[in-house]
């Protein structure tokens, strides 16, 4: 092959080879660590310490390797080694250093790497703090690291590609004649660049925070499975609780940071849109919150262990499922920002399945049964690799291979997955201690359990609704269609069937229909349950507290009604909003009252209540900001006021001519012009506040929404928001005139004037003036010919430009070439010279024809929205996070105290 002898110039191959080596090393070390840790709690007694030390050594090597991969990839990006595909695809030379770190999460490989780094951090903490739990917990984390490092391997195995290496060379990944040149790198001057939407401060911190939350959720999972594995069924909850709280806190922070980023830099105008990608991160959080509450119930009463196991395990499995949803490309048609498939969806499913399989497998007590199940598992995995080949070899010609294959796969996988699920649920149920008597209605644990169930239901609703594309892939519509067909046949009905599910008509309304009542129930529970005691509560005790907080809440809600001025389309919606507000206020008041009355302001025991107060405030913010948010940029100049006249949402964009003040609800808005600070174009928009009498108050502010005309992505608009304590004014530009298109318009308004030196010419609209400073006669070309040039200054509103129109007399023919002045959109023609007339005492005059391109008045199409009281959303979240932090500190102290005993 000829390509093989090409020696490429300027490549930095060594660093990539080191990177690849680090990937292999991290994989091998994780394997070794998992194996050693496994032996240290399953092996013979005398070797336990030895194997535990081996496990630690393996994990240290693994940690070093993972950090090395991270550093090497960063160096490749930072030094612009565009021979590497990752650097070429996700970065460019103009990228500021602070955004280089964002390149990690634009690509899939980098995201998995980030996840691994967080697991390494958590693993290193656990090695020193988990004590008797170290071996099984670290074995499980190492298994997760094995799975994650395969995502970066990028090797062929039995004909399938495993993982995708971040150190692939551009010339290996793409085709092009350019790669036959040894010096091809000289032609690749710049990379593709980072998506401009990711070049944002919040996008630097939101993904790592979210990923740390994801990573932390492995700890409760690892503890739960370790407990099942080592048959220490009950002790795991205490050490796992602080980690579950950390997961809840960090994941929650990450989610709301994503919301804040969306609000600050995307144009959909809001912080939450129930987009599948947002939902994918919310689902594990909902389940993790429920886990925390169940853990507390178990710690205080010894009840609900089975549910605690299930939820601790599922919160991590749902992290894996969320990863599968967002990274497999399956959401393609339903989400704005899903990743494209890198061919790793199969691997992700295996990852997910192994962690469902592990608890099912380790809980089988019967040795024969366990080995039988293991054997079946191995068989299924081998079959899944070769099934395609077997079928092609055996089925007769002419049959549809794809159909047979899909049936064969179902025949293998469906029974196997069912067996696994059976083992999973039955075996974990069996370890549950025999339940004592039922919880009392007046006990705290009963209502906490109900609250956790509501969280689970809320999560199930989001999971199911987000999984529509997955149901389509699994053939669920066909199953339902045959069911409906049956019903129609039996009952004579005519229910229509759906071929392929798509998201609801009104997505936000659909989710709110379920999640608003859920939030109301939870809000009421947070306040009421606090006043109850574990086991049993005296009625007088809680009744008084609840009545007092409820009365305060009612009074406060009435006041807030007038402050917030909540609006709704109809009375029943308004009633729902009011109820919602009451519930949210009750959550805040009840928990404040609890801190005051019951805990007596003791900091250590107030964590939960502070988190609940934050939750209540968040709900107040959610309600008021979404019920009362409104576009103020309503456009009344519509071309057709016929159909769809009533749809408010469809006339929210308004055209603002430059320097033309336009009234908008409470403001006079003026577009003042744009300024370019490459690559951003800022549009200066002035808002003048109007008083109650609709007269200007003198108060004004400027918003600078910008747009980037990105060669790769076209126009990208970034909003700008003015933050007040009680409301935000949000605005973005949705369309701007095409300035390039201006060039092709014809000249108009020709007129001819004779002027003397120092005189001035004006265009028709008087926007441009032209001053004749003098006449020069340059070197003459030929004896008989004459060349005269005018020295003119063209003065526009912004600029002064020199122009030199020429007048030529060649063989008595007058030639006047057009002198175009691009910056002023005019052209000048020097058409004649009128000699001085001594008899009439006139000096020489010069005749010019001037024409202009009619100016399109500069304008922007923009939309402006007011979000009232959105600060409750951010403030509530911050308070919630503080509450979690207080709880974490309390639980960590608690377990330290116990250890010291």
């Amino acid at each position: 092959m000829e390509e093989n002898i090409v020696t490429y110039i300027g490549e930095h191959l060594a660093i990539g080879n080191w990177g690849k080596f680090a990937v292999y090393l991290s994989f091998g070390a994780a394997l070794f660590s998992a194996f050693s840790y496994l032996l240290s709690f399953k092996g013979g007694a005398e070797n336990k310490t030895f194997w535990r030390n081996m496990g630690r050594a393996g994990f240290y090597i693994h940690s070093t390797a993972v950090v090395s991969i991270f550093v090497i990839l960063f160096v490749i990006i930072q030094r612009h080694y565009f021979e590497y595909q990752y650097a070429w695809q996700h970065s460019s030379t103009a990228l500021p250093l602070k955004y280089m770190i964002s390149c990690f999460w634009e690509g899939q490989e980098g995201s998995f790497l980030l996840w691994m780094v967080w697991h390494v951090v958590i693993g290193n903490i656990l090695m020193f703090t988990a004590r008797s739990w170290e071996s099984p917990v670290m074995a499980i984390i190492s298994i997760a690291q094995i799975m994650l490092s395969t995502m970066l391997l990028g090797v062929e195995f039995l004909g399938s590609k495993i993982g995708s290496s971040p150190f692939n060379l551009l010339r290996d990944m793409t085709q092009g004649p350019i790669f036959s040149r040894p010096d091809y790198l000289n032609f690749i001057k710049d990379g593709n660049g980072l998506n401009p939407l990711l070049q944002n401060y919040w996008m630097v911190i939101h993904p790592p925070t979210l990923f740390f939350g994801f990573a932390a959720s492995i700890v409760p999972f690892a503890y739960a499975v370790s407990a099942l594995w080592t048959r220490r069924y009950t002790e795991w909850v205490k050490p796992a609780l602080p980690w579950a709280l950390v997961g809840v806190m960090v994941l929650g922070t990450g989610i709301i940071m994503g919301g804040f980023w969306a609000y600050e830099s995307l144009t959909f105008g809001g912080y939450w849109a129930w987009d599948p990608v947002e939902n994918a991160s919310l689902i594990p959080w909902l389940i993790l919150i429920a886990t925390v509450h169940l853990m507390l119930i178990y710690k205080s009463t010894g009840n609900a262990l089975y549910s605690t196991y299930l939820l601790a395990i599922f919160s991590f499995l749902l992290v894996l499922y969320a990863t599968f949803l967002t990274r497999s490309g399956i959401l393609g048609n339903t989400s704005v920002h899903s990743f494209t498939d890198l061919g790793m969806s199969g691997q992700l499913l295996v990852f997910l399945f192994i962690f469902l399989w592990l608890p099912a497998y380790v809980t089988i007590n019967n040795t024969k049964l366990r080995f039988g199940y293991l054997g079946i598992t191995v068989l299924v995995f081998i079959l899944s690799f070769f099934i395609g080949k077997i079928i092609t070899a055996f089925i007769p010609q002419g049959e549809d291979i794809a159909v047979v294959l899909s049936y064969a796969q179902k025949a293998i996988f469906v029974p196997y997955v069912l067996i696994t699920l059976f083992f999973f649920f039955r075996n974990i149920y069996k370890v549950n201690p025999i339940k004592g008597k039922e919880e009392d209605f007046s006990s705290r644990e009963f209502w906490m359990f109900i609250g956790s169930l509501v969280f689970v239901l809320s999560g199930l609703h989001v999971i199911a609704s987000t999984s529509l594309p997955v149901f389509n892939k699994l053939g669920v519509p066909q199953v339902i269609n045959s069911l409906i067909g049956g019903i129609n046949f039996v009952f004579g009905t005519s229910i229509q069937s759906k071929l392929e599910f798509a998201p609801p008509d009104d997505v936000i309304g659909y989710y709110n229909m379920w999640q608003l009542p859920v939030a109301m129930i939870l809000a009421v529970l947070t306040a009421t349950t606090q006043f109850l005691k574990y086991k049993k509560t005296q009625q007088k005790y809680y009744f008084n507290n609840i009545i007092i907080s409820l009365s305060i809440s009612l009074a406060l809600t009435t006041v807030l009604l007038f402050v917030f001025k909540i609006k709704a389309d109809n009375n029943s919606t308004l009633l729902l909003y009011l109820l919602f507000l009451l519930c949210a206020v009750y959550a805040v008041v009840g928990n404040i009252y609890y801190i005051y009355k019951v805990v007596k302001g003791k900091w250590e025991f107030s964590g939960a209540s502070v988190a609940h107060i934050g939750f209540g405030l968040l709900l107040v913010g959610v309600l008021v900001s979404s019920a009362n948010k409104r576009a103020i940029s309503i456009n009344y100049t519509r071309s057709d006021l016929g159909e769809n006249f009533d749809e408010e949402s469809q006339k929210e964009h308004v055209l603002l001519f430059k320097n033309t003040p336009t009234p908008m609800e409470g403001y006079i808005v003026t577009y003042l012009g744009d300024s370019l600070a490459a690559p951003d174009n800022f549009f200066k928009i002035q808002f003048e506040k109007l008083g109650k009498d609709s007269l200007p108050t003198g108060e004004k502010f400027f918003l600078l929404p910008n747009s980037q005309t990105n060669p790769k992505m076209g126009l990208i608009s970034n909003p700008d928001t003015r933050h007040y304590l009680t409301h935000d004014v949000f605005t973005y530009v949705s369309s701007i005139p095409d300035k390039e298109g201006n060039k092709d318009r014809p000249y108009e308004h020709f007129h001819t004037d004779s002027i003397a030196i120092h005189d001035t010419l004006y265009t028709d609209n008087a926007k441009v003036k032209v001053i004749l400073d003098g006449i020069s006669v340059p070197e003459q070309p030929n004896g008989n010919d004459l060349l005269v040039a005018a020295n003119m200054r063209v003065i526009t509103l912004y600029d002064t430009i020199e122009a030199n129109p020429r007048f030529i007399l060649a063989n008595d023919i007058r030639i006047s070439p057009d002198e175009e002045v691009a910056g002023a959109d005019i052209k000048i023609k020097f058409s004649n010279i009128i000699p001085p007339d001594t008899t009439r005492n006139t000096s020489a005059a010069f005749e010019f024809t001037i024409a202009e391109r009619p100016m399109i008045r500069d304008y922007v199409v923009m939309m402006a929205k007011v979000f009232p009281y959105i600060n409750f959303v951010w403030g509530g979240t911050i308070i919630m996070v503080i509450g979690f932090l207080m709880s974490i500190i309390r639980r960590v102290k608690e377990s330290r105290r116990e250890r010291a005993k």
Partner: protein
């Protein structure tokens, strides 16, 4: 009756309600033909922009009116009206998903989802700038 049974019944009822509401609220991916036969019912149509037909967006006249032609998976071309400004980087989109309903001959889109697979996943190296 034991409380746990009551909880279990409520739970099952809630799950059934979730499934029914999910099915009832979901719409369908369909073609323009299906949408035309069911006037006024919301569908998602997946297709790509017909570049041979003109697009209409005149912000000077109405900034909230955009009209274009979409070719669905069965190669049927239909006029789509979107009462919003033209989406950013519309020209570059390869796949367009429109959500809306048919109104006579016109598909009234309520939402447009653009898929630009080439956006940041280009497989061809652009060397024009270098030459």
């Amino acid at each position: 009756m034991k409380t746990s049974y009551i909880i279990a019944i409520v739970l099952v009822a809630a799950l059934i309600a979730i499934i029914v509401s999910m099915y009832g609220n979901s719409t369908e991916y369909a073609t323009f033909n299906t949408a035309a036969q069911n006037q006024g019912k919301t569908y998602h149509v997946v297709g790509h922009l017909d570049r041979t037909k003109p697009q209409l967006y005149n912000e000077l006249k109405d900034p909230n009116y955009f009209e274009f032609y979409l070719k669905d998976s069965l190669d049927n071309v239909n006029r789509v009206v979107y009462r919003q400004p033209r989406p950013q980087d519309f020209e570059r989109s390869e796949n367009v998903v429109v959500k809306g309903k048919m109104n006579g001959e016109t598909f009234e889109a309520k939402e447009i989802l653009l898929k630009c697979p080439s956006k940041y996943n280009e497989t061809e190296v652009d060397v024009t700038a270098a030459n």
